[in-house]
């Protein structure tokens, strides 16, 4: 573009063409960004409205006003101090943290074997992983409930949800395997020449390299425990002392029937940790989503 002044004879036609192209580019920019802003409103306004309502007074929350007259921050402390809220919080954290740790410890060696070892039935094993990943939890819930509740008398606790995670999670295995396939074989071979066994190779060579994938799996697993509603409904519903936030939140709406302000404050308190975790580990998370959808 800076060439134009040095070529005086061609200035006129070229600037005209340039101007048309530039106008087209500007129009295109405006169109794309208007659309993006409209989409951003659709995605973000719900958060804004929920937040605004969460700081309204009880009386204003019953009206259709959108903007709080008086910012009542005490709604949050009121929710926090509601009976059970802290217990649900603790239960959810226990479920999510233990579940995540167990899942990674049990899924990583399986994923490594599926990605690196050659053995008969490997494709069959992979198909089994995918089948289990796609299986609706309702399909197996009745025999599992009977087992945990009638044989082990563990209903009313979260253990029936946590213990199975020590035996590998299909989605995590699949995601980790996808990632491990992208690590060049040469690293493993070099470790072998240095005299490492498979377990040492996995722990010393692969584990550090797979850190982003492990972070992604950890986040997914943490969120799926945090968000789980069906599991706690089946196993914990009979004992309010074992409820999680997702399960308790719904009953919170019942306990505070007309108080949309308190209900929305509670909703934001359940949402907040997920959002904070996401902002802290954004890249790992987005990489994980990509990894599950795109062939490795």
């Amino acid at each position: 573009m800076t060439l134009a002044p040095s070529l005086p004879t061609k200035v006129v036609p070229r600037t005209l063409a340039l101007r048309a192209a530039r106008r087209k580019a500007v129009l295109n920019w405006v169109a794309v960004h208007s659309l993006a802003i409209a989409a951003a409103l659709f995605f973000l306004l719900p958060f804004v409205f929920v937040f605004l309502t969460s700081v309204m007074t009880d009386r204003q929350a019953l009206t259709s006003d959108l903007w709080p007259h008086h910012w009542q921050w005490s709604n949050y402390t009121k929710v926090w101090n509601t009976d059970g809220f802290l217990t649900w919080w603790r239960n959810t954290l226990l479920y999510a943290a233990l579940g995540t740790a167990l899942t990674i410890a049990s899924s990583l060696p399986v994923a490594y074997a599926l990605a690196r070892f050659r053995f008969r039935g490997r494709n069959l094993a992979l198909m089994a992983v995918v089948s289990m990943m796609m299986l609706p939890p309702q399909v197996t819930v009745i025999p599992m409930y009977l087992f945990w509740a009638k044989q082990l008398h563990l209903s009313g606790t979260l253990w029936p949800l946590i213990i199975p995670m020590a035996f590998g999670d299909a989605f995590s295995i699949f995601l980790l395997r996808q990632f491990l396939l992208t690590i060049p074989k040469e690293y493993v071979e070099a470790a072998r020449i240095d005299g490492c066994g498979e377990l040492r190779t996995l722990l010393r060579v692969i584990l550090p390299m797979a850190r982003p994938a492990i972070a992604a799996v950890a986040l997914f697993q943490f969120f799926s425990c945090w968000n789980d509603y069906f599991g706690p409904q089946i196993y914990a519903s009979e004992n309010p002392g074992a409820w999680t936030l997702s399960y308790g939140l719904e009953s919170f709406k019942g306990a505070h029937h007309t108080n949309w302000n308190l209900t929305m404050a509670a909703t934001l308190l359940v949402l907040a940790p997920v959002m904070i975790l996401f902002f802290l580990a954004q890249r790992a998370f987005v990489e994980g989503v990509t990894l599950t959808g795109v062939k490795g």
């Binding site: 989409a39 609706p136 197996t140 009745i142 509603y229 519903s237 959002m275 959808g293």
Partner: protein
């Protein structure tokens, strides 16, 4: 294989055996998990589908009576099946189309792309119960902000979760709000389309829609198939949002032992997974619940097998 290895020298045979033991050791958590949390409950579900069992007295064999009950004497089965298929057809189509649209938009955004990507992605992270509660509030017909805004610009104000003809569209809207995962997948796929193909198409004087049709679409086709198939499987499992929306909108107090009209309003949000819960854990009809579970399994696995086709590229291997 056995006879091949018997002709191998002993040292190599020993090595093979050691390798097999090592593989089994690495796989052992999963082997136990698969057997105990997949095969065993699956076989039990089939077993219970032929039994009359209330969860307390000993089960008794009743042949195909549960199957007959579910298909012919349980009218809400077909209603639930209809709703599930509605959700599969409408929700999946709109989610994939919208996810692709937003993914396309995000690749074109030049200013503030980081902000837009995050904004479009965030709702996907909202816990389903929290998201559903938020939408029940936003779409609440009396005082909700959405109807407030619709009234302001003179549009009709639907009853959303309280109106049987609007409850499924409201759930669909909630599902479209959480499009973030699809957006990321489509975005990655779109950025992978070779630049040269666009340049070549441009030299041929094609229009933008033509380039989308003849360059973009063929390149991202496998991802579209992936999104549709996983979407169908997710829609078959659709549970939390439907049940929470029904409970909140009907004003029933949630929690232990509380019954509410399933699929409120008028069974319009009643789906197959809820049927398993309702039959098994509220009506204590284990046998019929297992029949529905098997139907759910059969449909889900039929779609899962589509993913496992070699062409889908989902089960790529290293060699």
């Amino acid at each position: 294989m056995a006879h091949v290895s018997s002709t191998l020298p002993p040292a190599l045979r020993r090595k093979r055996r050691r390798e097999a033991a090592r593989t089994a050791a690495f796989l052992s958590p999963w082997l136990i998990g698969f057997g105990f949390f997949f095969l065993y409950p699956l076989l039990s579900t089939v077993y219970f589908s032929f039994m009359n069992y209330d969860g307390f007295a000993a089960p008794t064999f009743v042949g195909l009576r549960n199957w007959d009950f579910v298909f012919t004497k349980y009218p809400s089965f077909w209603q639930g099946m209809g709703n599930t298929l509605w959700l599969v057809a409408v929700m999946v189509t709109l989610r994939v189309a919208f996810g692709l649209g937003v993914g396309l938009l995000v690749t074109k955004v030049k200013t503030g792309s980081g902000f837009f990507r995050t904004a479009f992605y965030l709702p996907y992270l909202a816990p389903p119960v929290a998201a559903t509660m938020a939408f029940a509030f936003l779409l609440n017909p009396g005082t909700g902000p959405v109807n407030h805004l619709l009234g302001e610009i003179g549009l009709p104000q639907p009853g959303w979760f309280t109106d049987p003809s609007w409850s499924k569209p409201a759930l669909t809207m909630l599902a479209m709000w959480g499009i973030g995962d699809l957006m990321v997948i489509f975005m990655a796929a779109l950025l992978d389309v070779p630049r040269e193909q666009y340049e070549a198409a441009e030299l041929d004087g094609t229009s933008a829609p033509q380039r989308f049709r003849f360059v973009t679409l063929p390149n991202i086709a496998p991802i579209v198939v992936f999104a549709v198939v996983t979407g169908v499987i997710q829609a078959m499992q659709y549970y939390t949002q439907a049940i929470v929306a029904g409970k909140v909108a009907s004003g029933v107090i949630g929690g232990s032992g509380q019954q509410f009209e399933p699929g409120y309003p008028h069974g319009s949000t009643w789906t197959l997974p809820q049927m398993v819960y309702n039959l098994g854990f509220q009506r204590f009809d284990t046998g019929s619940a297992c029949v529905v579970a098997i139907i759910l399994f059969a449909i889900s696995m039929a779609f899962t097998s589509l993913l496992m086709r070699r062409r889908a590229g989902f089960l790529n291997s290293e060699d």
